[in-house]
Symmetry: C2
Subunit: 316 residues, 2 copies
């Protein structure tokens, strides 16, 4: 049986699980649906940070030290911009800019982000399907105590997620639509995974695309989140800080609470001891993916676990 898997992800953490799945699944089995709320225009280029991270990770180009960007990339364009007196707070590097140039050119020619992404991934030799959550421009806006409302990359990169978050807003989400490609992938999925990404900054935008949440919960299949929180802390990024600011307890079970309407399974980390829930299947695993091999092992264990479920999982 060729299990069809849909995995929802943001950037670095989610990309690792997607890479694990990519290593163990055949082409046609895996569709990765990626947050585009972080996308922005920078120097006239359409930069899609999460799509890029997933593309670079699945093609083996990613910088292993950071998880984002391209290994060995250079900063010639940044140096050029600084010569003009530009404040280069966003690190747009040279090989990465080739991606942005090709993407921007495709979009300006009227092609959809889904089509442009398929073209780029094919040219990078990626056999699996990577989809943006929508073809419409959506921008995650972060209202902060210190600076008022910031664009996502200002909050995340310029201010290094130091500001205190009051509320998140998805600009453009009402006009966004589920793409035919994403709808078909979800409708055909045997397993739906939520990568260990930031639930509020990475997964919430995906679930907010009109029609996507309903399409997900309509699937009577395992819908399983992998925790981004281990022992109350985020493996990477602001997830733990943010959940406190938004009024959640800094714990893996808060993720279950946040996702309760959409998941029926949850993978927590073994370091949290034994957790349980009345509403969703739960299991503990080593979720800390430190090597390419770790990613494949976790992906394999998660799929083996969901296959072992009773045919009618809780909550479906």
């Amino acid at each position: 049986m060729a299990l069809k898997v849909v995995c929802l992800v943001g950037g670095v953490g989610g990309a690792k699980l997607a890479h694990g799945l990519a290593q163990i699944l055949e082409p046609g089995q895996l569709t990765v649906i990626v947050n585009t709320g972080d996308d922005f225009w920078h120097y006239g280029l359409r930069v899609c940070t999460d799509l890029d991270t997933v593309m670079y990770t699945l093609s083996g180009l990613a910088n292993p030290a950071t998880g984002w960007g391209i290994e060995g990339d250079t900063d010639g364009v940044l140096q050029g911009l600084r010569r003009y007196g530009e404040d280069t707070w966003f690190g747009i590097h040279d090989r990465d800019i080739a991606t942005h140039l090709l993407r921007t050119q495709g979009l300006r020619e009227g092609r959809r982000l889904t089509e442009v992404t398929r073209d780029l991934t094919t040219r990078l030799g990626i056999a699996h399907t990577i989809l943006p959550m929508t073809d419409a421009p959506v921008a995650t806006m972060v209202d902060t105590v210190e600076y008022g409302e910031l664009e996502f990359q200002e909050y995340f990169v310029k201010y290094r997620w130091e500001p205190t978050v009051k509320v998140l807003r998805l600009q453009g989400i009402d006009a966004a639509a589920l793409s035919a490609e994403a709808a078909a992938a979800i409708a055909g999925a045997d397993v739906i995974l939520f990568g260990p990404s930031n639930p509020w900054l990475s997964i919430m935008p995906i679930l907010s695309v009109p029609g996507l949440h309903d399409a997900l919960v309509a699937r009577p299949v395992p819908r399983v989140a992998v925790t981004p929180i281990i022992q109350g802390a985020a493996v990477k990024g602001p997830a733990s800080k943010l959940m406190a600011e938004l009024g959640y307890k800094q714990a893996a079970l808060s993720i279950v609470q946040y996702y309760q309407r959409v998941i029926n399974g949850f993978v927590y980390d073994l370091r949290d001891g034994a957790l349980s829930s009345e509403t969703v299947h739960m299991v503990g695993m080593d979720t800390l993916m430190q090597s390419d091999g770790d990613r494949a092992v976790l992906a394999r264990r998660v799929l083996d676990w969901v296959i072992s479920w009773d045919p009618s999982p809780a909550g479906t």
Copy 2:
């Protein structure tokens, strides 16, 4: 007396004379009007090769080995594009791309090329005025025996000016207009120089901007071309090859013939012996600018010569 000088130029050769003038004139005295017929869109970026060459030369950034591009520039973006399978026939380098990004962003925001260029030159510390010949998009199209009509950069870079030229066409020239800035510079000029640029590929497009030729010849001042041809050969580029293809004798005097309706003075190279003309003032100088100092010396000699003219030069 603060002599006001307008210098018409294309790329490398003209930029050298402009640099010589820039070294000996004060801010406010020099306006360089630059060919934009070579400009093109490349990966969604507006590339203005002659404007860039003049900017980089006057700011001291130019690569001395080539005359164009930025010294020490890198090819990270090109490497990135090649990874996507792109045929990178046009060498768009990293620091140079910073220029194209800022220019393209300015144009997309609705600013005129003249305004964008002023901003870029100011930020590079250039005290003199560099103007595009027009704010309208004009494209020099090269009809060739071998490939039919080519865009300029295809002819010049992709095919290394090897095709045989039948005729040149300036796409968009009828809709182009003389900018207020260029008109004012010409109207106030005490001396008008034609740099040692390719007359057909670099200067003809400038002279073809509606109103520009008439504005030039209306000025009762020295209008002097510096030869791009020495002993029948071009110092650089296709000028000599092209003049044969277009039916001209490969000699400096053919330049006088080509410019006869607009110039009243001509500087030929000493290596050509003694040349004379019945219609224009002529003088021989060492026009081969091999160092920054050579550029200033030639500029000084040309200005000294035109200042020595009878107040009513021939042809005015």
